[in-house]
Subunit: 277 residues, 2 copies
């Protein structure tokens, strides 16, 4: 049986890898780490993998703008979604103790999510490109004054001990991941659609666009504004709405959107993700 | 003459300090550095300073969510705005050369804004809480393989040399700063208002809110959605619109907003900021 090749950002043990294992039930998965989000998208667009999985939003820190931009710019589509409960842990080498930790390494998003703990414990912090990569670094340095913020699987993978669990600022910490593919495949049970568009520069433009959905009783799930690079103080908007592109109401709304906006891309229709732990 | 005491985040030489100097024409300014944004807001709310100045949006990376949250949560108001052209430079110690730099330190926002340069030059990067603080660190370490990404004033303040200018990903790099005070003062020439609100959880809620502005021909300047901590997948919205709170049209729109939303705070009416260099 041919293995399904899935790209993700980070090292072995990253939350994205866990999200991939939860989303794809198959045992014959090949999970392929990449250093940056751009690398993941290039692997998908170049068909070097079957799909990729990327975080798009965290309930403490909001949308990840680099991923939104890549979804718009690259020739890829969203085909699925999964939400993952994130539980950050402070990890150290064997023999280290919580009171002895002076400095922590982690991904900037994880450092942000644990900023109250870091401040309270008086730790210095250093950014690393990935939570699992930070765990690997700590294991290699073998210094009991250095810790990593990562998940259980990173502790297992690199032989670290858990010094403290659940160190995120708020217990309700979830990350939403999207499954991204080269081809626009709409699953039969899709119930959610993502579109990106830019506005003509005129008063009431955004209200007009939201009318496209309101007059059709289409429920908006979220809206994000992302700055357009090279056009200061102009934005593009990402909207998630209830419905799928092949239904009449949704497809008419999208036609209407194309009438009104200089740029529209349907990022995908997919089934709203369940929450995994 | 009593000095005006202004709080900002970062070390001497930070972009916020420059923004404060451009905004306040007075010679008798006392600019007081603080380590975190929360520290700046606490100093303002506790009346330990007259005002503070904080970055709220960058044209490459978008809104700074931590600042949005503090504006909503703390008992403070916005009384002014200024936009600053940001030009990042790679700085090193005397005797260092561009080709010899292996690692750069800077604030996470500046690292993001220069990611193309960093990747192209094959540098490793480390997060520091402030651009000027990174410059200070590089000066202290006195190692020709380490650089900082910061501005000209940081180079001057810490005796570093400029190894490369304008290393940001896109030339059109501006940061918008807000002047924040304990009291809600509306300048006579105010032409812009910021409000934050949350929505009732019902279909079409956001469209209904935008109608409040559309039916009164009020021009929306920007909209930002910020996740509500502790309520996964719920958001509050920050809107900038043309008008001032003491005009009839704007004050009716705000009354209408209070009718429809469980939470509304008028963050301030102020004069739209000029662009400084």
């Amino acid at each position: 049986m041919k293995k399904l090749r899935i790209a993700y950002q980070g090292e072995k043990g990253a939350y994205s890898e866990l999200a991939a294992r939860r989303y794809f039930p198959s045992k014959s998965l090949e999970l392929i780490p990449h250093k940056t989000f751009a690398d993941v998208f290039h692997a998908i667009a170049g068909r070097r993998v079957d799909s990729g999985i990327v975080p798009v939003e965290n309930t403490l820190n909001g949308g990840i703008r680099e991923v939104f931009n890549l979804l718009d710019e690259q020739a890829v589509y969203v085909t699925g979604e999964i939400k993952l409960r994130i539980s950050h842990m402070l990890l150290g080498v064997r023999g280290s103790r919580l009171a002895g930790i002076r400095k922590v390494y982690s991904h900037p998003q994880a450092l942000l999510q644990c900023r109250k703990f870091i401040r309270h414990a008086g730790l210095s912090q250093a950014e690393y490109y990935d939570t699992a990569g930070a765990a690997k670094l700590v294991a290699e340095q073998n210094d009991p004054s250095i810790g990593a913020i990562a998940g259980q699987s990173a502790a297992d993978d690199y032989g670290l001990v858990v010094l403290k669990k659940n160190i995120e600022s708020d217990g309700k910490n979830f990350t939403r991941f999207l499954v991204v593919s080269r081809d626009s495949v709409v699953p039969g049970d899709a119930d959610k659609t993502t579109v990106v568009f830019s506005l003509r520069n005129q008063p009431g433009a955004l209200h007009k666009i939201l009318s496209v959905f309101a007059i059709r009783d289409i429920d908006l799930l979220s809206i994000d504004s992302i700055p357009i690079v090279g056009k200061p103080w102009e934005y593009k908007f990402f909207i998630d709405f209830r419905g799928r592109v092949f239904e009449e109401t949704a497809s008419r709304a999208i036609e209407h959107l194309r009438e009104l906006c200089p740029h529209v891309k349907v990022i995908g229709s997919y089934k709203e993700g369940r929450t995994a732990y």
